[in-house]
Symmetry: none
Subunit: 197 residues, 4 copies
């Protein structure tokens, strides 16, 4: 990927995250990226296209691990004897990812509700790639009696709510004296584990 293209993407990510997609002008992006406004449109057909080019890779990388072997080994390998080990691996991995991609994650959360086409894609990715694998693993823990007998979607909802809450808190409170990330992560894992026991 071209150097200017990268600079444009970086500038766009930063400003989109700060002011939102619609409130960001291409002129502003160009200035921050140190390119001419026209240059943006050489690399991205439209402004919307630029947004997609930002969101899609991160979306894919968010979901993708669930279908890859290495991650499977890291997170979903059934050798994990306990639900707690699984939660540990899952949360730490996703937390790290979210913090590395803080700005893009913010953009995704904020713009997704207005981007119907991307919503569709996200749903598809989730249903086809992520859900089946996660469901299998969770079911195995239910079978082993480590999680209470609940519908998988309910279990998933509760886990996701809590983890997303953790991620957002971590992003918002990062670098404040109120936030001890390791400790809060431990507590969150404990909370979920007990909540589902």
């Amino acid at each position: 990927m071209n150097e200017k293209e990268i600079k444009i993407l970086e500038a766009a990510i930063e400003i989109f995250a700060e002011k939102g997609f619609v409130s960001t002008s291409t002129n502003e992006i160009a200035k921050k990226a140190n390119v001419a406004e026209g240059t943006i449109f050489r690399y991205f057909k439209t402004k919307k296209d630029l947004l997609k080019s930002i969101i899609k890779p991160t979306l894919v990388k968010t979901i993708a691990p669930f279908e890859m072997d290495r991650f499977s080994k890291a997170v979903f390998h059934l050798e994990y004897e306990t639900f707690e080990d699984f939660l540990n691996a899952l949360i730490k991995n996703r937390m790290e990812f979210a913090k590395k991609n803080k700005a893009v994650v913010k953009i995704i959360i904020q713009e997704m509700p207005f981007q119907d086409d991307m919503q569709e894609e996200l749903k598809r990715l989730f249903k086809d790639k992520m859900y089946p694998k996660v469901a299998t693993v969770l079911q195995s823990f239910i079978d082993k009696g480590q999680i209470k007998e609940l519908p998988i979607p309910t279990v998933l909802r509760l886990i996701i709510s809590t983890v997303v809450g953790l991620v957002i808190s971590s992003i918002v409170l990062e670098n404040t004296p109120f936030w001890n990330e390791e400790q809060e992560t431990e507590r969150t894992i404990e909370f979920i584990k007990n909540g589902l026991k």
Copy 2:
């Protein structure tokens, strides 16, 4: 409040929720409200002002109960012997409110990150009106041994994450066969209760 003013607010709420604040034109609002575009600016100095007029009352109503006696009686009265009873009252009350104000809640969630002045106000409201009361109640449950020894902010974060997740699921999945609200509410309460035990 004038009839036209109400019609403008209603129209704005509906469109803001659907398309977002920036992507909604005052012309569109005027048409839906059946008033002239100029009329909007008679009641609301600017478009941003209209947004504030929508968000603020709901924000206040979201927080206000925590300082009012009747709600205090309903939710925070220390006569609640158990944490479960408290959670029950809290969640059901907030769920009902969120669903009654679905559109405005959506607007608040989506626009708040970009409205620094309102963020400030929200923080103030939270810190001054809501947090002290909630903290007291939660502390009382900790003292009684119904909740684990954890910092109040952590407890609050975990509860709020889970409840917000419930509210969003309820709004998104409302009227689909996948969603049995009463059941999911019960399960969520159970989850929090056990998670914090």
Copy 3:
């Protein structure tokens, strides 16, 4: 029709005729019309729309007479004993119209080849409204032996070519010493009459 709307139309007609549709900027039109650029778009949704609003009425007025009674009386009434009388009425009437609408006629001739939708409409108008009536009249002159036995489309092509040539010459050479309109019109009528005898 509003005064500003008229001023915009007049300005657009003048500049379109001079520089062509694509080479005319809305900014230029606005300046000539003494309105703000945005005002143009209150009255005409797009620039293309403005073009249509210019072309269509003239197109209709060009064709319309052929279906109206008063003009029929003037041009097509079968009381015209001779083909020459008919030609006289036709040519003088159309010449006058073309000169009154010089600029718009120029625009139509120049832009029509690139406006597929209008071409379609023109074809329809011609086939449904104009051709049938003209064909009837021409046939009657053939039957009376005043015109040679030729296919109607051929007759029409020859007449139209010659008349359009006259109109263009008249527009181009107007106000030059080389042009004596009355004389040239007479000669053209004579030319057609003899050519088809």
Copy 4:
């Protein structure tokens, strides 16, 4: 002439004819010609220059014959006893040329009204090279009594109108069942001949 230059010219002719000069982008031409956009500007200083390079040779070739010996022999040689023979030679020759250069002829007709410099050149060519020769020939037919006593410009206007009408019809209706070229050419010659008798 370089191979790339030719490919550029060919591509430009095709697209100019289809979409018009202003609506054609150099990028589009480059793609169709299979060259880089910059290459266009190596051979033609500006886009306008490219247009001129297309129009000029055809314009010259349109006029040139009138000053060349071989054509003079073919068309203007005074050995032609009759006006009809002359018309025959003229029309068939010009029809063939127009059809061979259909696209460029279309471009000339459409762009000439907006290109003042080329208009000037065309006028000059016409006045200096074409008119004198044609006038001489036409005068000879008038003298022989084969054409009515009319001013030469008028005669020329009537002939040109009719022939241009024939050429356009031929281009537009080419390959439709409505068009029998040979027949229509004969009828047109007959029309002019009788019209001027």
